[in-house]
């Protein structure tokens, strides 16, 4: 075996290991189920809490999108707040008009999460923001907030409405 053969084989192994390793990590190409995290969005609710102030409930939703395409935003056009005896549905227009504040995560450099009358909450992949949404006052207690994203299962979490000021 010539010196060139050894060098070529060594680098072929390095390149193959890199390609196979990253392919497995990124897409499961070698074993286990195939995956592609940039196909469909996956919205996560990082936290949810609410406070009653001056006759309104201020729902603070900290949300992020951890899967899906990177070229455009993921939309959350419907939000439902409910408990065993109550349900409130906000459509995209209501989400837009009733969002009073958006606090961006410090790493949202120029990909700022936003809100629109068409898409509701609009989330960039990887970005994170806390939306404050003003709704009619809820009775203090435990509620569930559910976010509906087109073509993927809804996500929900529970939160407590405190009496506040």
């Amino acid at each position: 075996m010539q010196r060139q053969d050894v060098i070529a084989l060594v680098f072929a192994v390095i390149v193959a290991a890199f390609i196979l390793g990253t392919g497995q990590w990124a897409y499961g190409n070698l074993y286990g189920p195939l995956h592609n995290y940039s196909k469909k969005p996956l919205v996560e609710i990082v936290s949810a809490n609410a406070t009653n102030i001056d006759g309104h409930t201020y729902l603070v939703l900290n949300v992020t999108d951890v899967n899906g395409p990177d070229a455009y935003q993921t939309s959350v056009p419907i939000i439902v707040v409910s408990n065993s005896t109550f349900s409130l549905t906000l459509n995209s227009t209501q989400i837009y008009t009733q969002t009073v504040k958006i606090v961006q995560a410090p790493w949202n450099l120029n990909k700022k999460d936003g809100v629109s009358g068409v898409g509701g909450l609009e989330l960039w992949l990887g970005a994170e923001a806390a939306y404050t949404i003003r709704i009619n006052q809820l009775e203090p207690g435990q509620y569930t907030v559910t976010l509906y994203v087109p073509e993927v299962p809804a996500v929900s979490t529970s939160f407590t409405v405190s009496a506040g000021a």
Binding site: V15, Y27, N110
Partner: protein, 182 residues
């Protein structure tokens, strides 16, 4: 046959000139990346612009694994991230130009392979196919081939350097001796 040719185990030859399309292809990929950011659309490296490319790093975050902390640090400190981006873009220009004209081809191939590997945190992104992974992997493999084969010694400036100086390492010491300039 000249020393500029790669001899395979079957006794046949792969003239270095056959690697010219790869040199130009890989070189142009890098050159184009640098040209877009630094020349054609310089707002891409302007931190106050909405087009600032560093901002796109946020989309790498969710599955960046061990690179997540570094990416967040860059995003939260754009005054550091901006010079990093400019240096990277200049390197793209330099590596691309060197590969195309065949100057310091082996070193440029080595550098290009390392730069392509550094894109790994984005490899999971590919909404239509396995885009980033395929691009990065092919640039790594292409860079390694150009590094090993001394592809610039045919139709490249390296041919003159090789004829005049022979083989030269980056430095005549340790492992750097084995990283050839051309």
């Amino acid at each position: 046959m000249e020393k500029t040719e790669v001899i395979n185990g079957l006794g046949s030859y792969v003239p270095a000139v056959y690697l010219l399309p790869l040199r130009i292809g890989v070189g142009w990929m890098w050159l184009d990346g640098g040209l877009r950011k630094l020349v054609l659309a310089p707002q891409k490296v302007n931190p106050s612009s909405a087009s600032f490319v560093l901002g796109k790093f946020v989309t790498f975050l969710p599955h960046a694994g061990p690179f997540e902390a570094f990416l967040k640090y860059m995003l939260e400190n754009p005054s550091l991230g901006s010079p990093f981006l400019i240096v990277y873009s200049v390197l793209e220009l330099v590596v691309g130009t060197l590969l195309i004209i065949g100057l310091f081809t082996r070193l440029a191939g080595f550098g290009g392979a390392l730069m392509a590997a550094s894109l790994a945190p984005a490899f999971w992104l590919g909404s239509t196919c396995e885009d980033e992974w395929q691009i990065g992997s092919l640039l790594v493999a292409g860079g390694v081939v150009l590094m090993l084969s001394a592809a610039g010694r045919k139709y490249g400036v390296d041919s003159y350097l090789y004829k005049r100086f022979g083989d030269r390492g980056v430095l005549n010491t340790g492992i750097l001796r084995h990283i050839k300039l051309w």
